[in-house]
C-alpha cells in the first residue's frame, strides 16, 4: 500500500528561499524575453528584407533555436563554450540560452505579424513623406505588436517554464533551489509539489498582467 509519509515542515521552513528563487526565475525570464524580442524582431527583418550572409545568419539562428532542444542550447553556452576556455557564470548562461531560444521562436512570430500587415499601409505612410524608419516605428511595428501580442505572452510563459532547466547547469533559480533543498532533506515530492504551485502562480500573474496591459494598449 501507499506508505509514504508527508513531511511539509522542511518545505515551509525554506519557503522564503523558494519564493526568492521564484523572483530570480521571473527576472531571468523577463530579461531573456526583452533580449529575445529585440533580437527576434531584428532576425525577422533580416530574414525578410535582406539577402546574402546576414539573411543566412538569421535563417540559421532561427533553424537551430527552433529545431534543437533548449537543454542542448544551454549546454552549448555552458559546457561548450567552457571547453573552449570561455567560462560564463550560470546566470549569464541561462539568460544567453533562453534569449537565443526565444529570439528564434519570436522571429517567426514577428515574420507572420509583418506579413499580416497589408503592404498598402507602407505605401500610405511613404506617400505622406515618412522615411523607412518612421514608417516602421510608427506604422508597421505597432500593428505587428498587436498581432503577435498573444504569441509573445505565450513565449513569456514558456520562458518562465524553460528557465527551470537552469538546474541542469547548477543555477539556483526556482527549480535549482528546489533541487538543492530536496536533495538535502529527501522530501523530493513535497518540495516539487510546492514549487509547481509557485510556478503556477507566477504564470497566472503573467497572464493577468498581460490581459490588463492589452486592454490598455489596444483600444482599437
Amino acid at each position: 500500500m501507499f506508505e509514504y509519509n508527508f513531511h511539509w515542515r522542511p518545505v515551509l521552513k525554506s519557503l522564503p528561499d523558494l519564493l526568492q528563487a521564484g523572483l530570480l526565475t521571473l527576472e531571468v525570464a523577463v530579461i531573456s524575453m526583452l533580449i529575445g524580442i529585440t533580437i527576434g524582431l531584428c532576425l525577422a527583418l533580416m530574414r525578410m528584407k535582406l539577402n546574402g550572409p546576414l539573411k543566412w545568419f538569421a535563417v540559421s539562428w532561427i533553424e537551430v533555436a527552433r529545431n534543437t532542444p533548449v537543454l542542448f542550447q544551454l549546454f552549448f553556452f555552458g559546457f561548450g563554450l567552457g571547453a573552449a576556455g570561455i567560462n560564463l557564470p550560470p546566470y549569464v548562461i541561462i539568460v544567453t540560452g533562453l534569449s537565443f531560444n526565444c529570439a528564434g521562436y519570436l522571429a517567426e512570430n514577428f515574420r507572420g505579424g509583418f506579413q499580416a500587415v497589408p503592404d498598402t499601409q507602407m505605401n500610405a505612410a511613404r506617400c505622406l513623406g515618412m522615411n523607412g524608419w518612421q514608417t516602421y516605428t510608427r506604422i508597421i511595428i505597432p500593428q505587428v505588436f498587436r498581432i503577435v501580442y498573444h504569441p509573445i505572452t505565450n513565449q513569456m510563459v514558456w520562458a518562465v517554464l524553460m528557465s527551470s532547466l537552469g538546474m541542469m547547469i547548477g543555477f539556483r533559480e526556482l527549480s535549482g533551489e528546489t533541487q538543492f533543498f530536496a536533495s538535502r532533506t529527501f522530501r523530493i515530492f513535497e518540495y516539487f509539489a510546492v514549487t509547481a504551485v509557485i510556478y503556477y502562480v507566477i504564470v497566472k500573474l503573467i497572464l493577468g498582467l498581460s490581459r490588463l496591459l492589452s486592454a490598455r494598449l489596444f483600444r482599437y
Binding site: 498598402t120 505605401n123 500610405a124 511613404r126
Partner: protein
C-alpha cells in the same frame, strides 16, 4: 506643374505604360478613365515614385522624381495620395492619423499638428469623429479621413486612385462631394476614376487610357460627346 515625358513602365515582361506624355498645370483637375489593367493606377504610382520607371521622365515643378539625387520623401510632401483601399492607420485615432505626418515629417509641434488635424477633419466633415478609431468609421468616412490626412501635409497636388470604387454605393456621394470641394478650392488633382459623372462635371480635362497608351485627352465634352478614338467610343458605350 507635373510633366511626364515618354514614360515607360514594365512589370517583368508586362509593358504597362507605353510612352506616356502628359502635362498637368497648377489648378487643373484631370480625370483618368479606362478599363482595369490599362495602366491608370500605375501612372499615379510612377508620379510619386512608389513604382520605379524604366524609361522617360516625370517632373514635378521641374524636379525629376526618379533622379537618384532627388529626395523622394521631401518631394512626396507636395503630393497627397488617396487610395482605393483607404489605408487609414488602424492603431491611431482619426486625429492621430492626420496629425502624425505633420508632426514627424514636417516637425510641427504637437499642439500645432493637432490643430491642423482638427481643422482638416472638420474640412472633410468629420468634426464629430476626432477621437474615433478607423474601425468605428464607415468606408466613406475612412476615405474622407484619408483625404484629410493627405491635406494636412499641405500638398500642392492630389492624386486619387479610384477613391470611390471600394465604397458602398450610398457612400460614394460623400467622398465625391469632398473631392468636388477640393477642386473648387483650386487644388491640382489627378483622379483615376470610374465615376463618369464626376469626370464630366468636375474635370478640366479627361484622359482615356487603353492598354498602357493614352488614347485620347481633352475637355470632358469632347471625350464624352465626340470621342475620336474607336477604343474610347467602345469604352464609353459600355459604361453608359
Amino acid at each position: 506643374m507635373i510633366e511626364i515625358r515618354n514614360l515607360h513602365k514594365h512589370f517583368g515582361d508586362l509593358h504597362v505604360l507605353k510612352g506616356i506624355d502628359l502635362e498637368v498645370k497648377k489648378g487643373e483637375v484631370l480625370s483618368v478613365i479606362g478599363s482595369s489593367g490599362s495602366g491608370k493606377s500605375t501612372l499615379l504610382y510612377c508620379i510619386n515614385s512608389l513604382e520605379k520607371i524604366q524609361q522617360g521622365t516625370v517632373k514635378i515643378d521641374g524636379i525629376d522624381v526618379h533622379a537618384k539625387s532627388t529626395d523622394v520623401n521631401k518631394l512626396r510632401q507636395k503630393l497627397g495620395m488617396v487610395f482605393q483601399q483607404w489605408n487609414s492607420f488602424p492603431h491611431l485615432t482619426a486625429m492621430e492619423n492626420v496629425a502624425l505626418a505633420p508632426r514627424i515629417v514636417k516637425g510641427k509641434s504637437k499642439a500645432e499638428a493637432l490643430h491642423i488635424a482638427e481643422t482638416q477633419l472638420k474640412h472633410v466633415g468629420l468634426g464629430d469623429k476626432l477621437k474615433s478609431y478607423p474601425s468605428a468609421l464607415s468606408g466613406g468616412q475612412q476615405q474622407r479621413l484619408a483625404i484629410a490626412r493627405a491635406l494636412a501635409m499641405e500638398p500642392e497636388y492630389m492624386l486619387f486612385d479610384e477613391a470611390t470604387s471600394a465604397l458602398d454605393p450610398e457612400k460614394v456621394g460623400e467622398v465625391l462631394d469632398t473631392m468636388r470641394l477640393l477642386a473648387e478650392e483650386g487644388m491640382t488633382m489627378i483622379c483615376v476614376t470610374h465615376e463618369m459623372g464626376f469626370a464630366r462635371d468636375v474635370s478640366d480635362r479627361v484622359a482615356y487610357f487603353h492598354h498602357g497608351v493614352m488614347e485620347e485627352i481633352g475637355p470632358p465634352e469632347q471625350i464624352f460627346d465626340n470621342p475620336v478614338s474607336a477604343h474610347t467610343q467602345k469604352f464609353l458605350a459600355n459604361v453608359r
